[in-house]
Symmetry: C2
Subunit: 140 residues, 2 copies
């Protein structure tokens, strides 16, 4: 286990520049280097990076992940905080789903009502302009 960054990338599915970026923002600790200044990683880094990747896939923000990582490192502590982070995130997801669903409805209506004729009869443009007529553009 003395992996160069490309191998770490392959094993975790996180792109190389992203790994370096995570190091830069302090999400991944700086690993030891070879004499020629190249990063070499061990098993703990693979695990930590997988944790990060999985959290990002679930939509947690970097600041959340920082906290979650700290918690994961102190197994005797209460998990109340982790629960709270996850619950807040769940609420946010629900909010986003609701908002997107409403949007979907409006978009769908818009598309279905489009008569495929000319712009001046197009419901899409009409809805966006939010008044009965076609919008007139002014050159600039």
């Amino acid at each position: 286990m003395n992996l160069p960054i490309g191998e770490l990338s392959r094993r975790t599915g996180v792109k190389v520049p992203t790994i370096r970026f995570y190091e830069q923002i302090g999400l991944l600790p700086s690993p030891p280097r070879t004499e020629g200044n190249q990063r070499r990683y061990g098993k703990p880094e693979v695990e930590r990076l997988n944790f990060i990747r999985h959290s990002r896939e679930l939509g947690f923000e970097v600041e959340d992940i920082r906290e979650l990582l700290e918690m994961a490192a102190s197994p005797q502590a209460s998990c109340h905080q982790a629960d709270s982070i996850a619950r807040n995130h769940l609420t946010e997801i629900d909010r986003r789903i609701a908002s997107l669903t409403a949007l979907r409805g409006e978009l769908n209506r818009m598309v279905e009502e489009c008569g495929h004729g000319r712009i001046c009869d197009c419901r899409i443009i009409e809805v966006l302009a939010d008044h009965g007529e076609c919008v007139t553009e002014h050159a600039h």
Copy 2:
């Protein structure tokens, strides 16, 4: 109708710096100025900005809006392109909703299984640390 930027902002619900930003990226034409170099807007700008705001609320990207505005300006043209933009956007929204819904399921399971005890028994941390693949899709 010779509105200063703050009044345009009030009438459209678009913040002042955002209006200036839209001008900078060429979404809104540069309006005439007073002798003292302050912007003055007329009715067409109010309408155009409302169009932009409404489009943004529906999640269209600036490049899409640019095209939609152009189309709106040529009322005799076919609305095929507007339809296509809107349909693509709808597909994208559907993709996002599906992805968020899957996520919601996983998060919910995670939170429900958390025993509110110590970190070392916490399902949240455990799931995040897990090497197994639960989610394959990215949360945009």
